[in-house]
Subunit: 135 residues, 2 copies
DNA sequence: GTAGATGCAAAGTATTTGCGACAAG
DNA sequence: CTTGTCGCAAATACTTTGCATCTAC
């Protein structure tokens, strides 16, 4: 039962403006992990009057209520991705910038173990692998 | 045989200016992971004439030649840490911001396995755990 | 002596914000 | 209606850079 972003907004009592609907749609349709600029480009094609400030405000809002996550991959700009059921981490191709999503339950378990060991409850984590494709 | 940053600079043919020596010393003495601003504060106490531009230029240089690493933890600012023999990852206390360094060989191995699985050679990785202290 | 480093201030990026106009509930 | 959002441009925050001067080697 994967809800759409729009449904999530309603569930969380967020006002659904035209702009937010468009931004939500663009994010849902994005398989990659676009930065705000790229998001703005895509959104502009649908409605050219939307300002980049609104895009910034919206992704921030979506992040705060847990609809999307923010990534700070190498390169300065923050990049966003919709959260859906399946948690995953990222394997990034250093040469091409291509991003592969993966899940490894064993690593997940070990992370919890590490946190436990230091007396912490694990809330969140970030795992990024950087590599080059083998020939 | 852990070399000092100064020794590493000489080994890599980097000109050792007074400013660089000071910045190197401050970084070596820092157990935490200071951002450029904080580094600049500490450096200024030793020599108040050093400009923040030099700090930026120096950390960038040190990063390029592999003397320090840059982290993009939550919070926007880039933070730096000296590289020494022991690789480690970070467990960050969400409430206090405290950073615990840890190593887990099992996780390291699994990361390589994941990269392999997708046909990649692992070059680098970043693992950050965010948690809260248990009472 | 010479190539490269520094300081300063100005210029870039990325992101946030104040404010009057406007739209969702 | 009322509260919160939008668009715009100005403001911030972080980082980089041009240029004249200075310094390590």
């Amino acid at each position: 039962m994967s809800e759409t972003i729009e449904e999530k907004c309603i569930a969380k009592g967020i006002k659904l403006t035209e702009q937010r609907k468009i931004i939500a749609k663009v994010m849902s349709d994005s398989r990659d992990h676009p930065d705000v600029d790229e998001l703005y480009n895509r959104v502009s094609k649908i409605d050219s009057k939307i300002s980049i400030a609104t895009v910034y405000r919206t992704v921030k809002l979506f992040e705060e209520v847990g609809i999307v996550t923010k990534h700070d991959f190498k390169g300065g700009k923050a990049r966003y991705e919709e959260i859906n059921e399946s948690h995953h981490d990222h394997l990034i191709d250093i040469k091409t910038g291509e991003i592969i999503e993966f899940i490894d339950d064993e690593i997940e378990k070990l992370q919890n173990k590490v946190a436990e060991k230091y007396g912490y409850k694990l809330i969140d984590h970030k795992l990024e692998l950087y590599g080059i494709k083998k020939k």
